[in-house]
C-alpha cells in the first residue's frame, strides 16, 4: 500500500519546495551564488516507484537516469518560472491551486465513517431518494398507427376483446404489429420503463389495475394494449438494503457542507473590497463619451 501512495506526494513536495526555492533563488541571485537542487534518495525512490506503478516493473538504470534528468529539468524550469512570477495571473494555475485545496476538504469529508444511526436518520430524512421503485411485470401488444391508418380504433377494439378473452394465455408474440423490442418484461423498474417506452407510457402503466388486458396506452412508438400481471409497489427500503447508496449520498452531503464551511473559515481571514463603478457614474461616463 505504501508504494501506491508514494508518487503524488512528490508533486506536492515539489510544489512546496519550489515555493521556498523561489524565495531562496531570488536571494541567492543577489549574491551571485548558484541555486541548489538536491534530488534526495527519497525522491529518487518515488520516481522509480512511479515508473514501476505504470509499467509493473522497475526502471532500468538508463530509464531511471532519464527520469531523474527530466525531473531536474522540470525543477529548474519551475524555479525560474516562479522567480519570474509566471505562476501569477495564470488562470490555469490559479484554478488548479484552488482545486487542490478543495480536494483537502473532499478528503476530510470522505474520511469520517458514519454510524448506522446517522445513516438511518439520513435515510429517513431523504426517503424519496432511496425509494425502491415501483416495478412492473407486463406484456404488451403493439399497434402501429401508420400501418393501421383509419382502422386503428376498430383494430384496437377487436384486439382488446380478443386479448381479454385469452387473458394471461394470449400469444403476444403473434398478435398486433411486429415490434423491435420485447413483448414481455419481468419486474422492470419505472425508470427503465421510461427509458424504453417514454414517460407517457410509464405514467399510464401505473394507473392500470393488474390482471387484465387494458388499453390503448400510448407511447412514443404508437399504441399498446397492456397486461400488467404484477405490480410491486415502491417502498422505503431498510438501511441494510441500501447502506452503500446511503453512505455515498451522506458522504457527498458532508463533502459539500465541509467545502462551504472551509471557505467561510478561510474567508474570515480576509477583508474583501469590491470597487464597483456606481450605476449613476457609469451613465455619466457614457453620456460624456457620446
Amino acid at each position: 500500500m505504501k508504494k501506491i501512495l508514494r508518487e503524488p506526494l512528490l508533486h506536492f513536495l515539489l510544489l512546496g519546495a519550489a515555493i521556498f526555492a523561489a524565495y531562496s533563488l531570488v536571494s541567492k541571485r543577489n549574491s551571485d551564488e548558484p541555486g541548489k537542487i538536491v534530488v534526495t534518495q527519497g525522491q529518487v525512490a518515488a520516481i522509480a516507484e512511479g515508473f514501476t506503478r505504470t509499467w509493473q516493473r522497475p526502471p532500468t538504470r538508463e530509464e531511471l537516469e532519464g527520469l531523474i534528468r527530466d525531473r531536474v529539468q522540470e525543477e529548474v524550469y519551475c524555479r525560474e518560472a516562479m522567480a519570474l512570477g509566471l505562476d501569477r495571473d495564470d488562470t490555469i494555475i490559479r484554478r488548479r491551486l484552488r482545486q487542490k485545496l478543495e480536494f483537502l476538504t473532499d478528503d476530510v469529508a470522505a474520511l469520517a465513517e458514519p454510524t448506522d444511526e446517522e445513516l438511518s436518520a439520513y435515510l429517513k430524512a431523504r426517503a424519496d431518494t432511496f425509494r425502491v421503485q415501483r416495478q412492473f411485470t407486463f406484456s404488451h401488444v403493439y399497434l402501429n398507427p401508420e400501418r393501421r391508418g383509419q382502422n386503428l380504433s376498430r383494430d384496437i377494439r377487436q384486439l382488446l376483446a380478443q386479448l381479454q378473452q385469452a387473458g394471461e394465455k394470449a400469444d403476444v408474440a403473434e398478435l398486433g404489429d411486429s415490434f423491435l423490442l420485447e413483448h414481455k418484461f419481468q419486474s422492470l423498474p419505472a425508470s427503465e420503463i421510461v427509458k424504453v417506452f417514454g414517460e407517457k407510457f410509464a405514467a399510464k402503466l401505473g394507473e392500470l389495475s393488474p390482471g387484465q388486458w387494458q388499453g390503448p396506452v400510448e407511447s412514443g412508438y404508437g399504441v399498446h394494449l397492456v397486461l400488467v400481471s404484477e405490480r410491486t409497489e415502491g417502498r422505503v427500503p431498510a438501511l441494510t438494503e441500501v447502506r452503500d447508496a446511503v453512505r455515498r449520498e451522506w458522504a457527498n452531503a458532508r463533502r459539500l457542507e465541509s467545502n462551504e464551511k472551509f471557505y467561510q473559515e478561510l474567508l474570515k481571514r480576509y477583508v474583501v473590497t469590491i470597487e464597483r463603478p456606481k450605476p449613476a457614474e457609469e451613465q455619466k461616463k457614457l453620456a460624456e463619451a457620446k
Binding site: F12, F103, S191, G222
Partner: protein, 647 residues
C-alpha cells in the same frame, strides 16, 4: 479477440436452431468450435416457449464513453467544478447544479458512463486523517481526526491549512516521500466508478484519456477497463509525456499489453477526433516513422482498438464532402479548419486519413497487403464534454466546456481562436451517445459487446437500430414477429464478419430502426457499402433501403424525394407529421462480386429537428448570425459487417 469471437458465436447459436453462420469454424483459446460441436451443445429444435433460452441482447444500452470532469486540468481551467462522482450522479438521471450554477438534468437516465479524465497525475493531500496509529500518536493528528469524526470537516481542513502555512505541520506525519499516505487522482477516479457502479441499473466504467497531442494533432484515446478497482488500481494510467510516457500509439499498445498481462485486467482503447488529427488518425504512412504502416501496427491497432468514436461535440467523423461527393448527408457538423489547436490548416489530402468511411475503405486495401485490417473497428458516439455533464440533447445542451454552458453569448463567441482560424461557439455539435447491444447492463456484458463491435453511434437520439448480415435472409423475414431472433439465427450482427459467399449467393441484410420514444420520426435507412475493386482502388456507394412516407426507391437504389421539414425555428419545435416511427426491411446487395473485399454499415437519418442553436435563440431571445445552422438531421451509424472472399 478470439474469446470475444466465441462469445458472439455462442450468443448467436444459443437457444435456437443452428444458425447459418458465416464461418464454419472458429478457433478459440479453448479449442476449435465447428458446426457439429456447436450443434451438440445447443439443441437444434427450438424450445416451445419463444422466450426460453433467449440470451442474445434484447435492447441497446445507451451511454457515454467520454466525459471529463474537473479532475482534467483543462476542464478545471475552463471552470469545471464537478468531480467524477458528480458526473456519475448526473448520468444516472439525478438533477445537479452545473459548474456555472444552473440546474441540469437529463431527459432520462443513461445506462452507462465512462469518466475519462486526462492521465496526468494529480496529487492529493495526505491521507493523514485515516486514523492510522502513527497519525493518532501525534496530538495534532489526533485532534484533526476527532474533529473529522465529529463532522467538523471544514474546521479540520482549515486548521490543517493554517498549521501548514505556519510551518507547524507535525514532522511525524509529513516529511519524506513514502511516509504519509497520499492518494492520486487515479485512485479517486477508480473509487468514484466503483461506488457508482450498480449492476443491472447503471454501469460506471473505470477509464482515462491518453491525450496524445503531438504537434497539436489529435491522436487521443480513451482507455476503458472491464474490471473493478482491484485490478485497475494496480497500475497508474499511461501518460503522453516522455520519458515516462509517449505520444506514439504503438507505445500505448505496449502499455496495454503489459497492463493486461501483469494485472489480469481487460482493457480497450477508443480513439476520437480524427477530424482534428491533420491526416494522422488512420494513417497509411505513420507520422512517427514516416514509413508505411506494417503488420505489427495493424495487429496491435485491431487488437486494442475495437471501436472508434465517430461523432462528438467537436464535430462528426463519418465522412467529408470532399471524400464522398455523392453523399448528400455528408456535409454534417464539419470541423475541418485545421488540427486541434489550429496551428496547422487543413489540406484536402489529409482528409482520407481522418474520416471513418475512408478508413474502412483503406483498411480493405491494407488487409490485402498485410493480411490484417488495422481499421476493422466498430463505432460509438460520445460527448467529450469537459463539464462533467453528458448533456448533448439538442434542447438540453450544456456545451463542451463549463464556459460554454448555456448563456446568451455562447453561440456567437469564438470557441477556439487562433492566429490562422477561428471556430465559433455555434460550431459545437450537440452529439453523441454510444449504443451497445449487450445482454445485460453490467461492466462485463457491455465491455464484451464493445469488444465484439456490436455497437452503434447516435448523434443524441436513442433510436433502436438492428443490422444483421447473412446469405439467407428473405423478404419475408422483415415480417417476422421477432426480428432479432431471426437475425441472430440466420446471420451475424453489426460488427461481425461474412466470408466465402456460397456459390451464386449475395449478402443479404435484415435492417431495422425504431425511433427514439421521446424523439423525432425517421426519414430513411441507408446501407453504405465500400469495396476494393479488381484494380485495387476503393469505392463507396449509398443505398436507400427503407424510406418513410410511401416515397419510391428508384432502380439505382436511391430515393430522390426529400422527406420535408416541419421545424418551426422561432419556437424551436417540430412535428412528427412526416417520417415514420419504425422501419424494417431485407436488403440484398445488387452488385456483389464474391471475389472482392467489402464492408456494409447502416446509417439511419431522422427528420429535420431544431438544432441546439434554435433552442438557445428562443430561450435567450437572441438573433444569431445568418451562417448559424438552426436545424439538424440527427442520425445513427452502425458498426460495419465485413465481407472477406474465400482464400
Amino acid at each position: 479477440m478470439k474469446q470475444t469471437f466465441l462469445t458472439s458465436l455462442a450468443l448467436a447459436v444459443a437457444g435456437f436452431a443452428l444458425p447459418a453462420f458465416a464461418q464454419d469454424h472458429a478457433t478459440t483459446d479453448i479449442g476449435t468450435l465447428d458446426k457439429e460441436t456447436a450443434a451438440k451443445a445447443f439443441p437444434s429444435k427450438p424450445p416451445y416457449s419463444p422466450y426460453a433460452g433467449r440470451n442474445f441482447p434484447t435492447r441497446p444500452f445507451f451511454g457515454d464513453t467520454h466525459t471529463h470532469t474537473g479532475f482534467s486540468f483543462d476542464a478545471g481551467a475552463f471552470g469545471c467544478r464537478l468531480n467524477p462522482r458528480d458526473a456519475y450522479r448526473f448520468a444516472r438521471g439525478e438533477q445537479i447544479t452545473a459548474s456555472g450554477g444552473q440546474s441540469v438534468k437529463l431527459s432520462r437516465p443513461l445506462d452507462f458512463l465512462v469518466v475519462s479524465d486526462h492521465s496526468d497525475q494529480m496529487g492529493f493531500f495526505p491521507d493523514l486523517l485515516a486514523g492510522k496509529p502513527y497519525v493518532l500518536a501525534e496530538p495534532k493528528g489526533r485532534q484533526w481526526f476527532d474533529m473529522m469524526q465529529a463532522g467538523k470537516g471544514g474546521e479540520a481542513a482549515f486548521d490543517i491549512i493554517t498549521t501548514f502555512s505556519q510551518g507547524k505541520f507535525p514532522k511525524a506525519i509529513s516529511s519524506l516521500p513514502g511516509t504519509p499516505a497520499y492518494r492520486s487522482a487515479w485512485q479517486e477516479t477508480i473509487k468514484a466508478a466503483d461506488d457508482a457502479n450498480t449492476p443491472g441499473t447503471f454501469t460506471a466504467f473505470i477509464g482515462y484519456e491518453w491525450t496524445s497531442n503531438d504537434k497539436g494533432n489529435n491522436l487521443h484515446r480513451n482507455i476503458i477497463f472491464r474490471d473493478d478497482g482491484r485490478k485497475a488500481g494496480l497500475v497508474e494510467p499511461y501518460t503522453t509525456q516522455p520519458p515516462l510516457g509517449s505520444p506514439n500509439p504503438r507505445d500505448l499498445w505496449k502499455w496495454m499489453a503489459m497492463c493486461e498481462e501483469k494485472t489480469g485486467a481487460q482493457i480497450l482503447a477508443i480513439a476520437h477526433n480524427g477530424n482534428l488529427s491533420n491526416g494522422r488518425m488512420f494513417p497509411i504512412i505513420e507520422s512517427f516513422t514516416a514509413k508505411k504502416i506494417d503488420k505489427e501496427y495493424a495487429d496491435n491497432r485491431v487488437r486494442w482498438e475495437p471501436l472508434y468514436e465517430i461523432t462528438q461535440i467537436k464535430g462528426d467523423g463519418e465522412t467529408h464532402p470532399f471524400l464522398s461527393p455523392n453523399d448528400e448527408f455528408a456535409n454534417f457538423e464539419r470541423w475541418d479548419k485545421g488540427n486541434l489547436d489550429l496551428t496547422e490548416m487543413k489540406k484536402n489530402e489529409m482528409l482520407e486519413a481522418e474520416y471513418v468511411r475512408a478508413a474502412f475503405r483503406n483498411g480493405l486495401v491494407l488487409e490485402a497487403e498485410l493480411g490484417v485490417n488495422p481499421y476493422k473497428f466498430g463505432v460509438v458516439g460520445s460527448t467529450d464534454a469537459h463539464t462533467g455533464l453528458a448533456a448533448i440533447e439538442e434542447d438540453n445542451f450544456f456545451g463542451k466546456t463549463s464556459s460554454s454552458e448555456p448563456t446568451a453569448e455562447r453561440a456567437s463567441h469564438p470557441f477556439v481562436k487562433a492566429e490562422k482560424a477561428t471556430i465559433m461557439g455555434w460550431e459545437q455539435t450537440a452529439s453523441g451517445y454510444a449504443a451497445v447491444w449487450a445482454t445485460e447492463n453490467t461492466r462485463e456484458a457491455i465491455f464484451d459487446a464493445m469488444k465484439r463491435r456490436e455497437t452503434y453511434a447516435t448523434t443524441g437520439p436513442r433510436m433502436v437500430v438492428r443490422f444483421f448480415g447473412g446469405f439467407d435472409f428473405e423478404a419475408a423475414d422483415a415480417n417476422n414477429r421477432m426480428p432479432a431472433k431471426i437475425g441472430y439465427a440466420k446471420g451475424v450482427p453489426m460488427g461481425g464478419d461474412l466470408s466465402a459467399a456460397p456459390s451464386g449467393k449475395s449478402p443479404t441484410f435484415l435492417v431495422a430502426a425504431l425511433k427514439d420514444p421521446m424523439g423525432a420520426n425517421l426519414d430513411r435507412i441507408q446501407v453504405v457499402k465500400g469495396w476494393v475493386g479488381k484494380d485495387g482502388k476503393t469505392q463507396e456507394r449509398i443505398y436507400d433501403v427503407a424510406v418513410s412516407g410511401g416515397r419510391k426507391i428508384e432502380t439505382d437504389g436511391r430515393c430522390k424525394v426529400d422527406v420535408g421539414n416541419t421545424v418551426d425555428v422561432p419556437n424551436a419545435t417540430w412535428a412528427n407529421t412526416i417520417g415514420t416511427g419504425e422501419m424494417i426491411t431485407v436488403w440484398k446487395d445488387p452488385q456483389f462480386d464474391p471475389s472482392l473485399r467489402a464492408f456494409y454499415y447502416v446509417r439511419v437519418i431522422e427528420i429535420p429537428t431544431p438544432r441546439w442553436t434554435a433552442y438557445d435563440a428562443k430561450y435567450f431571445k437572441i438573433t444569431l448570425p445568418k451562417e448559424v445552422p438552426m436545424t439538424t438531421t440527427e442520425r445513427a451509424y452502425t458498426s460495419p459487417i465485413w465481407y472477406t472472399p474465400a482464400k
